[in-house]
Symmetry: D2
Subunit: 361 residues, 4 copies
């Protein structure tokens, strides 16, 4: 059972709620950082007393008794609810716009990063992605540059004006990464890292949440809910392919899942064709699946010398190919009455504004 409390309730009134919960055998638990919600749980809650909701409603502090399903609605599309538009360094993600986020898999060295950053900006990307912390299957693989990598990203932003999307792996790094990131990335391997998600829910910074490679759509939305329930409404979902049995591509881009999500949630959705394909030659084709799914943009790995990359070089496209992907995305967007989002004039600041909502849909 989930209670919504009146904001006007006094401490004594709130204590009466907790006293009744104890009496009836429930454990009371807060939901994220939201003081206005109280989750009641316990052995008895499963069988429940048919009169329990009414008894709680009798208390002056209780505004409403929501069921568990109601609590889930934070990600749900609902009549009258506007689609969420998340603004990252002046760039709106969601609504009728289509954004291109591009950059290297990992930040490797200063010159290369700046070269890529200038190149992706020239090609039409509006945000720069690049990892300073990399999740790698082996402890002996390149783990990213860490803090020096963050500093390089800050420098790239200063020079190019592109907002930064970068991965955070550890809840203890959220603050540190947040000093540079305009948008946190939660990678596929971290989608079920609930401690990390909870920590990100406590920030007011946009989060790019990638679907785990064997996560159901329901689990992806559950992960989003962890962030939303904490009070951070700036969540953008990202499909990057699921693991399957065939080997011609690295993963299998789940276009159907995105198509489903487009109808189910008000959150923006991006497509990552690079991790799905795992092969640079297929990235431009898979990038064209975005309109099929009704998604709001692309996240693409780019490298100026893919064959020299420390990680994932096989799937990074070069700048000329990126230009082709951007042009193609523009044409496809226009076909749908959408518009390819261009870089905001004036350098963005690292401080993002509150999320805006587009007209209802």
């Amino acid at each position: 059972m989930l209670l919504r409390l009146r904001s006007s309730a006094s401490l004594a009134e709130l204590e009466a709620v907790r006293a009744l919960a104890r009496e009836l055998g429930y454990r009371a638990r807060s939901v994220g950082e939201r003081l206005d919600l109280l989750q009641l749980e316990g052995s008895d809650a499963l069988v429940g007393g048919p009169d329990h909701p009414a008894r709680f409603l009798d208390l002056s502090a209780v505004a409403e008794v929501l069921d568990r399903g109601a609590a889930r609605e934070l990600w749900q599309r609902a009549p009258g609810r506007a689609a969420t538009v998340v603004e990252v360094a002046g760039v709106p993600i969601g609504g009728d716009g289509v954004v291109i986020i591009a950059g290297p898999c990992a930040v490797e060295d200063r010159e290369r990063l700046l070269e890529v950053a200038r190149g992706v900006r020239a090609a039409g990307a509006v945000l720069l992605r690049g990892g300073a912390y990399k999740p790698r299957s082996s402890p002996y693989s390149f783990q990213g540059l860490g803090e020096p990598g963050l500093a390089l990203l800050a420098e790239a932003r200063a020079e190019t004006g592109l907002g930064i999307v970068t991965e955070v792996l550890d809840p203890r790094d959220v603050e540190r990464v947040g000093l540079v990131a305009d948008m946190y990335q939660v990678g596929a391997r971290s989608m079920a890292n609930f401690a990390l998600l909870t920590e990100l829910g406590r920030t007011q910074k946009p989060v790019l949440l990638k679907r785990g490679f064997a996560a159901t759509v329901e689990e992806l939305l559950g992960a989003a809910e962890y962030i939303l329930a904490g009070g951070n409404e700036q969540v953008v979902l990202c499909e990057r392919g699921v693991r399957s049995f065939d080997r011609v591509t690295r993963n299998l881009l789940d276009v159907g899942a995105i198509a489903h999500l487009a109808g189910a949630t008000h959150l923006p959705i991006l497509v990552d064709p690079s991790h799905a394909a795992g092969r640079a030659d297929l990235v431009p084709r898979l990038a064209r699946a975005r309109p099929a799914a009704g998604a709001h943009g692309l996240v693409i790995e780019v490298h100026t010398a893919p064959e020299e990359a420390h990680s994932d070089g096989r799937q990074a496209i070069d700048l000329a190919t990126l230009q082709q992907v951007v042009d193609d995305a523009r044409a496809l967007a226009e076909l749908d009455g959408r518009v390819l989002v261009t870089r905001p004039t004036g350098h963005s600041s690292a401080h993002t504004r509150a999320p805006k909502r587009s007209c209802p849909s």
Copy 2:
């Protein structure tokens, strides 16, 4: 070892080849119906004598010794080889055209079939699909009308001029189904039915070969090779989604596989968004994945009263939605400099012509 024989070779010269094969411990086997190929197999073949190829080449009947890999090239895209265009009842599949094939999952009754046939023609579909023989997981489910269903399909063709695409399940039905079908369909469950594929290789009628729901791309191409090696070059591949762990869609449309195939084979490729989605509401979106994959058309289930269908009604779209899918496909095709194929003028005959090839690509 695979030998290519001179067409000018006499029977006596051919017998010399077989005699040497026996002497060296090989079994000689013909490849499909191709008289010019001879496959040599056997325990000894695996270890092989290093001088065996030379000894065969010494014989006057042997033009060339091909290895097993070379034999696989029938589906392979090769420099200078034109992309295959398969013509079905006057409709070209492949090349720069985009075709829409539509119709009910199963032929159910005369009135309904004619109604759907007229409707899909009006919407812009150029071939009518519909099953008279249905593969069903339970012996108690509706198995299709069988021969009476074929007769109804013939009637629908006579009235609408649309060529017929219909499934064949049993090698013993190839001739009977071929009396009506302009294009055989091999369903996902039959993709590895090698007896059926071999039988279809002996015909000169187009085959729509659907990927098994857990078949690798390599296995799909191997299945195509069975038909091609038999001498029937009119094979069109079809991706219809693979089985996966999530449940929001019935199958997972493997856009990456099609994108890979587009570069790997000269055969045309279609997309079936209906079986992939398993939900009518997602079909229009998944239909938009066709250009992403560089595919040559769509196969779509349509029903005038989806809720009354005997099978798969949940995924069939209505005629109004089909119109929208066709219009969308036209716009997307034009964006790529392709053209939506329209119905040939004059009624098609059931006799299809030899496959044509478009300009090399």
Copy 3:
């Protein structure tokens, strides 16, 4: 709707049933070869008239109105129903016995086959498996010896007294293969070949039905039902691993599925550790999963010189390892109060008897 008819019903009485069916808009269809069952289908059947069952029951020919679920019960375990024991060349499969079926993947040559046959008999196997017809992903791979292979199997039976389990791929081969086979094998790729299953349902010979590598348990049981509904009760299921994402084994042995089946069906179940592992070194270990699943025996690939096999040599174990597997299976069977089935005394005949049922369980 499924009707059970009285065996005493006259043709006129039966015609009254069909007339009512027509009147109410149903199509009447017989169920396999069973004269006592009549399946009613059609658009109207889906909505149904609430009084339809009663109207049919009013007819003298109708003994009972079964729903579709009831029709499925042929494979279902039910209170009071004995577990099925299928007898193959004198060897009982099912009940409390544990059988070992072994042999080469494919019949290759006379000497080798006889050598393996003698070897597997000596090791304790009670039936000989070996393919004369092989389903292969490429048309250029060794397809089996065909009829000469069948003749060699017959010779192996004559010499060793072991009953023969061999694959049939094509409904047109059922009679020919049946001249030699004591038990038909339906391979994983043919599990959904409903024409083949229907044909096998018309025989009275045991069928070893292997699960498709991406078939659900429900689909496996549906395939069994095709054979059972045709009147052939001698079906043995076989789990051989499903396709998954990891590569350390060829397939993933679904022990849970067998454990589930053991409770759900009265049909015997075998385990094929060879195709599951795809690696000879793991076969003895996976063979030990049989008791976990409550299965009734093992199907194992054996080769006297695995490295020389034309197909699947990588997963075939040698005779010494087979001996170890058999000894291990005996010890595990005894732990459970089961008994390893030994070869029947006297040579078996190719004519199998009617299936017996063990005591209820």
Copy 4:
């Protein structure tokens, strides 16, 4: 390139190594907490100079140049290397023993926990499992009692003498959970939480590492390597089923993976039949797959009133069933010349000793 350094090397000698690395364009990185290993990485490292290893060996501080593969050997079984036996609260895991670890999914309340703890001890389990921190797909599901749950586990240990296996989700909780846990559990969702693994590598406490539900065997071993490379050798692997397409079980127990691991690694391996089955009725059967895989024990969910559990009650078995599982495991172990490990006499302390190794195998 991976260098092994002499423990006698001076700081000046070590600096010479780093200087050469810089000169040649490598980044030097330490491996976990091991001072004796130095990982060299960088763009140049990928092409490498053929004389680079020799130049490093010339330096007095370098004992040996290991390649990346060599670095992986921490989990690898090697000739002469003993199988690892991890001792948890006096209970050895690995070698010839078979252990039963049992308990509730989550710690719920004091009475129930103590009741279960007494029960599982009486049945023959030697360690108590139970989660105080639970990873849940929804933020509104019961997340575990947290610290009060740890206190209850400590109380259960004090009363029953059973060592505690409990999950840690957050690297910030490692110390806190370690005050009570005799063995940390890393759940399937955290297997790729590299920050957590690294933190656990810094402790000297046993870790039960569960395979992610879509992790390859290689990824599981990579995760183990993170802990091992940090200097903590007390890692026990656990297979709990992978995600697949069928629904009769919750997951698919990958017996083949365990069978492979048994030959590939010296680390002990446990089987969790509860999460694999997801159904209490199948747990006893799947528990019997342990000897198939050559695993060293079972992790089982038990509840005294499964229908009242807050989480996963559907898969928890009751105490009577646990007794049957333990008896069965004992019989199966004895068949293999193994022995079911019994509870150490005297209460265990929370301080675990250094890992022991059994005789080489």
